[in-house]
């Protein structure tokens, strides 16, 4: 760097020669340099100021653009304190096979209070008690004047009650929408539907959760918004269900039974057209489960599915089916029925003495225990067990009820020869009436296995054959004979050829052994026998028919008349034409005068 002196010697000398003050030159130079330096810094500052201005312009532009982008985007609702997923309040309807409503939702309201908003807590409490007598004034007043900010008063109120509360006019009383599950048919099909209760609850909505029956079984499906609110269509027929419930209730009273159940099943598809269990309950006001005692005494107990009983002689048909199917016997094969049949220390007896021999058909018609036991011995334990297993009698029923998988048939601990004999006439193995219904349907529909279903359309058929067409027809004929000339003679219904098998089983004591005077009376029927359409199982718990001199408890006197009445009432509803015998003579009456 070349240093330029502030006092250049040449100029100083010149100035001195002129007599001027040389300091002026230095000052002048200093000033000039200062100016130069300032100019330099000014130009530099100018460009840097432009840089700053650009930066600000850019930043403001960014903010403006971001504001524009935000303003153009859709706002999202700020969600207030929702933990987890939002509550989905929609629940699909449930209908019967014809689309009649069985369960639907009703928009009601819940009532809650926010005391900080209240104008006159005293008066509000008094007026509330006037509307809801089950509330207490003192308690409400205490709650309204306390520290709490939020109080539930009623979970569900009717529109009228809502209006009344509204008329109190207190701003601290507030309503939250509540979907309520409504079963418009009340007690009808209560055990199938089950019921619902509230799950997670918020102010704006509450979850409806199935607690039993199909409501619980199909809970996910019913709550799934992806189904678009499509109703769940059951296989039940509302009309038939109504008729059967009515007849069964009457029959239960007439026969002095403490409980009754009836199942009507489509023979070919396994669809349950009707399922009634008495006593029943109103799913709108589902009772609490019994805290103690026998669960089967509760009206919540579904006898058709949860009740496992020794179903008695109704099982005999399976022995006959196997005997025919294996080709061991024909319907006319004579079987030794001379009693009593001894096996070790056990003796098997018949209700009456039926003589030394009966044909297979007559063993069924007369319901001979000895005869059936002998058939079973011919068949053997292994094959009997396999056959009953294929009929689904040894495993929980696959029906679409949440209660079903928990109900296992009671089997003997080891399947001995004695067990084989007793099981052949329905003792020593307990199954539910629904098990019996699907097993009957399987052997009588032409011989292919069906599975019980509560959904319209039933389950897809596997096509597995259990007996041949001929065997099935022979069995139906035997059952028809039972009604025509056997134990189920009260089962005759005019116009419909009913076939069926009675079963009367002594009830086991909880302490062991059997009651003398308590039975389970069952009638398992099929109609019409020539072209089978439906299987009907009617079971009465502890029936006593008292019209005679001494109480009669056998199924022929108790379950059969009830079943016959049911068939008489429902067969036309099911669209079955009665076989009316054509008028024999059809002519012109000649008159002369």
């Amino acid at each position: 760097m070349i240093r330029t002196p502030l006092r250049p010697l040449a100029r100083i000398l010149q100035a001195r020669a002129k007599g001027e003050n040389p300091d002026a030159i230095e000052k002048e130079n200093l000033r000039l340099r200062h100016e130069q330096m300032r100019d330099q810094s000014r130009t530099r500052a100018e460009s840097r100021l432009w840089v700053l201005a650009l930066a600000f312009m850019f930043a403001y532009g960014m903010i403006g653009m971001r504001m524009g982008v935000l303003a153009a985007s859709e706002p999202q609702e700020p969600q207030v304190a929702v933990s987890g997923s939002a509550i989905v309040a929609q629940r699909a309807d449930i209908t019967d096979r014809n689309g009649n409503l069985l369960a639907t939702n009703l928009a009601t309201h819940s009532l809650y209070a926010q005391p900080p908003l209240m104008v006159d807590p005293q008066r509000a409490a008094q007026e509330l008690v006037a509307i809801f007598p089950d509330l207490e004034v003192d308690r409400l007043t205490r709650q309204f004047t306390g520290d709490r900010k939020f109080i539930w008063i009623k979970k569900r109120i009717s529109p009228e009650q809502m209006q009344q509360v509204h008329d109190i006019g207190d701003p601290g009383l507030l309503f939250g929408p509540r979907e309520m599950r409504l079963y418009p048919n009340g007690r009808l099909a209560a055990h199938v539907l089950g019921g619902t209760s509230f799950g997670r609850e918020g102010v704006r909505s509450a979850e409806l959760v199935g607690v039993a029956g199909v409501e619980k079984e199909f809970d996910q499906y019913l709550r799934d918004p992806a189904n678009g609110g499509q109703p769940l269509r059951l296989s039940l027929d509302l009309t038939v269900q109504t008729a059967i419930r009515r007849v069964l209730e009457g029959g239960m009273k007439l026969m002095n039974a403490k409980g009754a159940t009836a199942i009507l099943m489509d023979v070919h598809t396994g669809e349950v057209i009707s399922l009634v269990s008495l006593p029943d309950f109103d799913p709108n006001e589902r009772p609490r489960p019994l805290a103690q005692g026998d669960a089967s005494d509760s009206p919540l107990f579904n006898r058709a599915v949860q009740g496992v009983y020794e179903l008695g002689s109704t099982f005999k048909i399976f022995a006959a089916a196997q005997a025919l199917e294996t080709g061991m016997m024909t319907p006319d094969t004579m079987i030794d029925t001379k009693g009593p049949l001894r096996w070790g220390k056990f003796r098997i007896n018949d209700f009456h003495n039926y003589g030394p021999q009966l044909s297979l058909t007559d063993v069924m018609v007369k319901s001979s225990n000895i005869g059936t036991a002998r058939i079973a011995m011919e068949i053997g334990a292994e094959r009997q067990r396999d056959f009953l297993g294929r009929l689904g009698l040894l495993s929980p029923s696959p029906v679409e009820l949440v209660e079903a998988p928990g109900v296992k048939p009671l089997l003997p601990p080891n399947w001995s020869e004695l067990s084989t004999m007793t099981i052949s006439y329905g003792h020593g193995l307990s199954a539910s009436p629904l098990h019996l219904a699907s097993a009957y349907a399987s052997v009588l529909n032409g011989g292919y296995v069906v599975q019980p279903s509560l959904l319209a359309g039933g389950r897809p058929r596997t096509g597995e054959r259990i007996v041949s067409e001929q065997t099935s027809a022979a069995l139906r004929d035997m059952l028809r004979q039972v009604v025509v000339r056997g134990t189920a003679s009260f089962g005759e219904v005019e116009g419909y050829s009913v076939g069926g098998k009675t079963g009367t089983a002594d009830k086991p004591k909880p302490t062991g052994g059997y009651y003398e005077d308590k039975v389970i009376a069952t009638f398992a029927s099929v109609f019409p026998t020539d072209k089978p359409k439906y299987v009907l199982i009617v079971t009465l718990d502890e029936p006593e028919e008292t019209s005679g001199t001494e109480p009669r408890r056998t199924a022929g006197w108790t379950a059969v008349p009830v079943a016959a009445e049911i068939i008489r009432r429902t067969a036309p509803l099911l669209g079955l034409r009665p076989d009316i015998e054509p008028a024999s003579t059809f002519g012109v009456t000649l008159t002369s005068n």
């Binding site: 200062h34 432009w50 903010i63 935000l70």
Partner: protein
């Protein structure tokens, strides 16, 4: 003539003060500032009644106070803007001393109003935040020192100003008030930049800032939480920021209508830090863009005028004031749209706050005073290059 000759009639030496003020003042900037003040009052009417009700005050309590303080701020602004640069400098330096002493005494005499940071003096009817007044005074002092540095044989003003800046920042960080501290650092940096900082040093300073940020992040939970909130991509709709963002969306282009906004009900800082969200919700993007345009106009126009300024002090002080004013607005709005991490910063002249308003009056008053049209030696340049080559 006779009176004049004998001095019987008073003779004006220069132009009267007001006409000269009106002739030389930057009328555009002045109008922008007055408009902003008007918008501030309007938004105060919208944003503050819910808060006033929550605090058990009359609905327009905050608006009345805003008008009162705003009036004072305008008086301060006009008075300041009439000063000469020398006067500004003198008062600024004196003011800095006062404000700094006040700042230093905060830990002893100040109050925190239960907000976790001791930043205020409580005067009963109002509170004073010394750091707000410190900012313009600091800028003026720094500009003076840096300008002195450019004189031949002048003091090492840059070094002095740096030491002062660091001291002030330390005091602010102790409160803690990282927002004001960063503003002080920023203004010093901007003035140093315009005053001729070597490029190498600028790069080093940028690195230092990042370092400082990391240190603050690691050592202050307060600070760390805000940064974490910023870095997470999702906006939690339940935070202040979530409400603010939603309010802007809700408002759309034309707003939901006067008095129809909801965000003011849920935001505790609706009348201060998030007033732009209230503006966006009720009046829409259109008002927000207007506000942004006003701030941009003030800053850009001031910077533009300063490029022609030959007095180093006026140039530096003007730059510092314009930038601190602009950057404060920028940060406030940038936070509301989540371009910047959440940092409580008022929107100058619009947000509610006595200290902030009056200090804002000082800032823009001094800025107006420094950007007034003054002879810049143009005629000298034209007539004779004053001996320069």
């Amino acid at each position: 003539m006779t009176e004049m000759v004998y001095g019987a009639a008073p003779m004006r030496v220069g132009e009267p003060i007001l006409p000269r003020w009106w002739r030389t003042i930057d009328k555009w900037t002045l109008s922008c500032i007055l408009l902003l003040f008007g918008i501030g009052l309007l938004l105060g009417l919208a944003a503050s009644p819910p808060l006033a009700e929550r605090n058990g005050l009359s609905p327009f309590h905050y608006v009345e106070r805003q008008a009162l303080f705003g009036g004072m701020a305008l008086v301060v602004m006009f008075a300041t803007s009439m000063m000469s640069p020398d006067m500004v400098r003198r008062l600024g330096v004196l003011g800095f001393m006062g404000a700094f002493i006040a700042l230093a005494l905060l830990p002893v005499l100040g109050t925190d109003f239960g907000k976790g940071a001791v930043r205020w003096y409580s005067l009963g009817f109002a509170s004073v935040q010394p750091s707000e007044f410190l900012k313009p005074c600091f800028i003026i002092l720094t500009a003076w020192m840096m300008a002195a540095n450019t004189e031949i044989g002048g003091p090492p003003g840059r070094m002095f100003s740096f030491v002062i800046a660091v001291t002030v920042v330390l005091f602010l960080a102790l409160q803690p008030d990282f927002g004001q501290a960063s503003l002080i650092l920023f203004s010093w940096g901007v003035m140093y930049f315009v005053g001729g900082a070597p490029m190498l040093l600028l790069a080093g300073m940028a690195g230092m800032t990042v370092m400082g940020g990391v240190v603050a992040y690691n050592n202050s939970e307060h600070f760390a939480r805000r940064i974490d909130g910023f870095l997470s991509p999702e906006i939690d709709p339940r935070t202040q920021l979530g409400y603010a963002t939603n309010a802007i969306r809700e408002g759309g282009f034309w707003g939901v209508g006067v008095g129809e906004g909801q965000v003011k009900q849920s935001l505790p800082d609706a009348h201060t830090d998030f007033i732009i969200a209230v503006a966006a919700e009720e009046y829409g993007l259109i008002l927000v863009l207007l506000v942004i345009a006003l701030y941009a106009a003030i800053v850009l126009r001031s910077l533009h005028r300063l490029t022609r300024e030959r007095d180093p002090f006026a140039r530096l002080a003007g730059t510092g004031l314009a930038c601190i004013f602009g950057v404060q607005a920028m940060i406030n709005m940038g936070v509301a749209v989540k371009l910047l991490p959440a940092k409580g910063m008022t929107l100058p002249f619009v947000s509610y706050g006595g200290s902030s308003l009056i200090a804002g009056g000082v800032v823009v008053g001094a800025l107006l005073a420094l950007t007034r049209t003054r002879p810049q030696g143009e005629i000298g340049d034209l007539l004779m290059r004053k001996g320069r080559a």
